[in-house]
Amino acid sequence: MMEYLLILPIFIPLIAGLLAVVEINHKNYIREAISLLAVAANLIVTYALFDKKYAFSIPWAGFGMDISLRIYHFSAFILLASAAVAALIALYSIMFMNGREKNNYFYLYFMLTLSFTNGAVLAENLILMLFFWEGLLAVLLGFIAIGGKGSFKTALKAFVIIGVSDLCLMFGIALTYSLCGTLNMSEVTLPMTFMGGVAFISLMLGAISKAGSMPFHSWIPDAANDAPLPFMALIPAALEKFLGIYFLSRICLDMYKIEHGSPLSITVMTIGAITILAAVMMALIQKDYKKLLSYHAISQVGYMVLGIGTAVPVGIVGGIFHMLNHVLYKSCLFLTGGSVERQAGTTDLSKLGGLGKKMPVTFGCFLVAALSISGVPPFNGFFSKELVYDGALESGTVFYIAAVCGSFLTAASFLKLGHAAFLGKEQPVFSKLKEAPLLMLIPMLTLAGLCILFGVYNPLPLHTLIQPILGARLEGHDFAGLPTNLFLVIATVAVLALAVINHIWGYRRTGSAIKAVDHIHYAPLLHGLYDRAERKFFDPYDVGLKLVNILALSAWRIDRAIDYFYTKIVVGFTQAASGSIKACHTGSHATYIVWTVVGLSCMIYYVAFR
């Protein structure tokens, strides 16, 4: 019976969400209490389930579709981590969302997201997983749409982009079923044939797009502007990364034996490398706190995809470790963005400045998280990035160089962000600015603390959470402790130093922190590219919509042509035919006799000579 406890992480948030939405009393904080209770209960349950191995299966819709849930160390880890992050963000949201319109829907969508994510992680059957996975789509639509005026457009964009990738996933699952005859993830072994490869790619596209990788990324920066901030910290920064990378690892580790150096491995790594570079290039030139962070949320996925795509243990461990680290520092960063937004009323970098003195705790958390994401030792991001570098170098110098360039630009953009927002001259409007309330600081401090802990004492996450996932594939390696490859460490430190020099030089040149990277923005070749990118030339969504419009218009023309055939040609032909027959009926007996004779002779001819 114990295995039926697995439904708790799905149903606790679900019920809480439904309760929160019907609770309409604004004043008593009942709604907030319900959601806090739910995330706390969820955390406790997932913690209690952490080292358990339960599974159950009940028949559902036939044809391999069962309601089967399974918990083992990997899913338990993802479950626990997302429960923890969700709890922190729920705590944060109480103050942040307080007094906003559509507050009840916020908690509904929050809880539904958590419930569906838990379901997708626990699902053992691929269709059950897709059920929850794609179910997030409708929730996502609502979640972004409550952001305010104009946010529905972004919500729709997110819906369409993710919808397309979910259909890829559906196709992949359909192929998997026809190739393997089962939908149970732990039983699926895709054959190493062409169709097996196609199935792998379809599943992989679904997974990486959930994580926010290119080319399914372009809704995230838009959502940063429109959606409520806890959404960003919860979904693109945390839960979607967990889900996407979890499933990507499952595909690469369990379902398809992707080989080091194979074309598929190279494909995945290329997607990773392009994502790192292109997104961080865009992040560099952003002038809004949240938007800059959102591009990093895309870029960092590149490291995870690259790491897992290498198909060597060090890369995979690095990729998964990076996922965990990313969730910690990126959620923390978004939350600092939220407290800046709440206290200062804006996230526009050109209006911010000198907040560090007024909001020291927020600044401290930002600093820790920024150092982590830039990969500065001894914070957690450093260790996972070193592992990814190691894997990338083993697979090809190109990938390593791309990853390191990404690091340089990441560091440069965070120097710019931190400098522009927290240091520099204090703006006179902010003279009465206060630190964010304690309830918002606790989650930030917790996340920042974890960033330090997982860096300084990295055996904790690596030994208990990540390395067991690989099991035998680990081949006896242990990646905890200090990086073994000294060359990589020196290179990393050198690159970081370069980023600092670059920033100082840029700042001296222009006298402004925001313009510190202008020499890259307006560099001869890049200038044109940036220009086009800002006009959404490269946004797959806009390009896709244009294509769809052309396709639809030509389809409509074909349809009209068919209709023309019926309404004009058939009718015209019939009228012409009946008209000419009518013309024959002149009323003259002589003509009729001729007709009769001709007809009669035809009949005689037919009967006599056929």
Partner: protein
């Protein structure tokens, strides 16, 4: 005996009852409405009562009185499933009509036609004989003609003529096909045909002719253009005939003949999915361009019918079961969409979506119901359409048509786009025409369909089990 009686009641209560409705109506309108609803609900309940029996694999046969050799009806799971779907959606649509049609003239004729149609539909579903099938088929065509031209404007009557001519042309072609089956199998009786033909594929020429009938009734390219034009009918009629029930006749006959009775030559298992794919894609594109609210939904229907046809024609159990499930989910959701469109149209007197906007603020229930039904049509979980869409696509992949499955996925993307375009323009943005919510009966009906769409996904195991068993039974008997 009791079950045989039930089948007879399901078919003949609405058919003969319909003739009394105008009489009752001239005395008391309310009574007429209630009687009309009761007849269809009775048919629905009676079909439900047949379900446990046929789930066990029994086939209930009804013969002509005094001529036991001449089979009249037979009820297997496939037929009962179809009857349940049609009468369930039909009941809700009649409920909706109570309010909707009270604003217009000729109400007696309306109820007469609608109930007669549902009776004919039931007769067609249970027919054991190809000639009876043809007979009921043509009754539905005549009723359809009258109902499209219900508002009697010259332009509307022309549209009705177009629908009639196209579908009757198809039906006559189909009749030729039936005659060829008679040539080959020596009978019009479906049971006898099955016995005589065991395993031998039916002649391709016969299939070709019959497909004309199926494509014209189920509005598949290139015989589809009457369907968008038929949107001039009253909205509940459009919902009943052109979304939920009538257009499913074609695909039902496809399942009845080419899945449950005869064996097709292999070429059709590639050709029909191909035609379905082209039809689904072209009309999805047209739905993206059109600006008339009902034409968009009608094009969407054609596009979705392609999915159903794909599922039924790929020759895998998964696909066929998916196709049947699709008939159910699409009937509920698309019926809901048309009824929502009806509320909008009746309240605003506008059909052009570019002149609408912002109605979510004044018609929240309609808007939410529309969105729910749209989610189901798009195939978003936890709504019912998700499962049917997956099963159809997976069936196609399993049947060896991954490329065609991909084309259908493009169609699915288009579905998301055109439905959201519609939703956006009608319900979001600036409020153009400030109109209140529809009357309670109408909103309750659409809300019911929306909830059914959701329930269809959450409790999918029941309909899926029925669809799966129906396919297993049907195929078992043929092979």
């Amino acid at each position: 005996m009791q079950n045989e009686l039930l089948v007879v009641v399901i078919v003949f209560l609405p058919i003969f009852g319909a003739f009394f409705l105008p009489l009752i109506g001239s005395a008391n309108e309310k009574m007429r409405n209630i009687f009309a609803l009761l007849m269809v609900v009775t048919a629905f309940l009676a079909s439900l009562m047949l379900l446990p029996e046929v789930m066990r694999g029994t086939v209930i046969s009804v013969s002509f009185p005094f001529i036991p050799a001449l089979g009249l009806f037979h009820a297997d799971l496939l037929a009962v499933f179809m009857a349940i779907v049609s009468s369930m959606v039909g009941s809700i649509i009649i409920l909706y009509s109570f309010e909707y049609i009270s604003h217009y003239e000729n109400r007696n004729e309306y109820y007469f036609m609608v109930v007669l149609f549902l009776g004919a539909m039931m007769g067609l579903v249970f027919s054991r004989n190809l000639l009876f099938l043809y007979l009921f088929w043509e009754i539905t065509a005549i009723v359809c003609w009258r109902l499209i031209g219900f508002f009697r404007e010259k332009k509307y009557v022309l549209m009705a003529d177009k629908a009639f001519i196209v579908t009757v042309f198809g039906a006559l072609m189909m009749l030729i096909g039936f005659l060829m089956i008679y040539e080959q199998a020596g009978s019009f009786d479906l049971g006898t045909i099955k016995e005589n033909m065991k395993g031998t594929p039916i002649s391709n020429v016969a299939v070709f002719f019959i497909l004309f009938g199926i494509f014209s009734k189920s509005a598949t390219l290139p015989l589809h253009t009457w369907l968008p034009d038929a949107g001039v009918a009253p909205s509940p009629v459009t919902a009943l005939l052109h979304a939920a029930v009538l257009v499913k006749i074609g695909v039902y006959v496809f399942a009845r003949l080419f899945v449950a009775t005869l064996v097709l030559d292999d070429i059709w298992h590639t050709l029909v999915p191909f035609i379905a794919a082209v039809s689904a894609l072209i009309t999805a594109g047209a739905a993206f361009i059109e600006t008339d609210i009902k034409r968009i939904i009608a094009y969407s229907t054609i596009s979705q019918l392609g999915f159903i046809l794909l599922g039924l024609s790929v020759n895998t159990e998964l696909g066929i079961a998916g196709g049947l499930l699709y008939i159910l989910m699409h009937g509920i959701a698309k019926g809901g969409l048309f009824l929502c469109a009806g509320i909008v149209e009746q309240k605003t007197k506008v059909k052009d979506i570019t002149q609408l906007g912002g109605l979510i603020t004044t018609m929240p229930i309609t808007a939410i119901s529309f969105l729910f039904c749209a989610f189901s049509v798009m195939g978003i979980p936890p709504f019912g359409g998700f499962f049917s869409k997956y099963m159809v696509v997976a069936g196609a992949v399993q049947g060896g048509h991954p490329i065609i499955a991909l084309v259908f996925l493009i169609g699915a993307i288009m579905t998301i786009l055109y439905l959201f375009r519609l939703f956006n323009l009608v319900f979001l943005g600036e409020l153009r025409l400030d109109r209140s919510e529809g009357s309670s009966v109408m909103t309750v009906s659409v809300f019911l369909l929306a909830i059914l769409s959701l329930a269809g996904g959450i409790f999918v195991s029941y309909p899926a089990e029925v669809a799966r068993t129906a396919v297993v039974q049907a195929l078992e008997l043929v092979k």
